[in-house]
C-alpha cells in the first residue's frame, strides 16, 4: 500500500522549471520534489532559488479522487502543451497538526506538471472549485 502511494519516479528528485513563477513567489523558476518513505503520499517541493523555501504538495487524487480540471490550451502552452497522459496534478497544502490532523488544500489553483518536459505551473481555474478545502484525518 505504502509503495503504491510513492511519488512517481518521473517526479522524485527531479527538477521542474516553472517559467511563470508561482503566485506570491514570482522569483521562483525551478523546483525539486523529494519524498521520504514515511511521508507518502505527501512530498516536499523545494525551490532552487531559495533553498530554504518549500511547500508540501500531494498528488490531487489522494485528497480528491474525483477531482478533474478543465484547462484552456493557452494556459498549458507555457509548459509545453502537455496532453492528458503527460499531466500530473498536485495541490499545495498547508498542514495543521492536531486532533484531527487537518490538511488545507487549494483546489482552485492546482499545480500542473508536464512529466516528460519537466515543466510546471500553477493554474487558477475558472468555475466552482472551492478556494480552500480542509480534509481531516
Amino acid at each position: 500500500m505504502e509503495e503504491l502511494e510513492a511519488i512517481g519516479k518521473e517526479i522524485l528528485d527531479k527538477t521542474f522549471s516553472f517559467p511563470l513563477g508561482i503566485p506570491g513567489f514570482p522569483q521562483i523558476r525551478r523546483v525539486i520534489f523529494s519524498q521520504r518513505s514515511g511521508e507518502r503520499p505527501f512530498s516536499i517541493m523545494r525551490t532552487l532559488e531559495d533553498p530554504k523555501l518549500a511547500f508540501v504538495v500531494i498528488e490531487a487524487f489522494y485528497l480528491k479522487p474525483d477531482y478533474f480540471v478543465d484547462v484552456d490550451d493557452a494556459d498549458l502552452e507555457p509548459i509545453g502543451s502537455p496532453g492528458p497522459a503527460e499531466c500530473l496534478l498536485f495541490f499545495i497544502v498547508r498542514l495543521e497538526s492536531g486532533k484531527p490532523f487537518r490538511v488545507h488544500a487549494n483546489l482552485r489553483a492546482p499545480l500542473i506538471l508536464h512529466k516528460d518536459k519537466k515543466m510546471g505551473r500553477q493554474v487558477v481555474l475558472q468555475g466552482n472549485h472551492p478556494e480552500q478545502e480542509t480534509f481531516e484525518f
Partner: protein, 90 residues
C-alpha cells in the same frame, strides 16, 4: 485611466474581438457581460492575490533535520483514518 459612462444594454469594445456589455445595474451591483475569445483569461481581480496569499501561508522554511516531521504526522494520520475506514481483514 479612461472612464466611460454606459447605460444598461450598451457596450464597449476593446480591440477587435473583446466586448464588454453592461447588462444591468442593481443597487451596488453591476452585471457585466464579456464576449472574448476562449484563450483570453478572465479573472475577478481579487482572485489572483488570494492565490498568492494562500501560497505564502502554505510556504514553510526548511530547517535541517526536523523539516519532515509534520509530513510524517500527516501521512500517519491519513493512514490511520484509511485503516479505520477499510477495516482490513487482518
Amino acid at each position: 485611466m479612461l472612464v466611460l459612462s454606459r447605460k444598461p444594454g450598451e457596450s464597449i469594445k476593446l480591440g477587435d474581438n473583446i466586448e464588454i456589455i453592461l447588462v444591468a445595474v442593481e443597487g451596488q451591483r453591476v452585471r457585466i457581460g464579456i464576449k472574448a475569445p476562449r484563450e483570453v483569461r478572465i479573472l475577478r481581480t481579487e482572485v489572483e492575490p488570494d492565490i498568492s496569499k494562500m501560497n505564502q501561508q502554505s510556504a514553510f522554511q526548511l530547517e535541517k533535520g526536523e523539516d519532515s516531521e509534520i509530513l510524517r504526522q500527516a501521512a500517519e494520520a491519513r493512514a490511520r483514518k484509511a485503516s479505520e475506514k477499510e477495516k482490513p481483514a487482518k
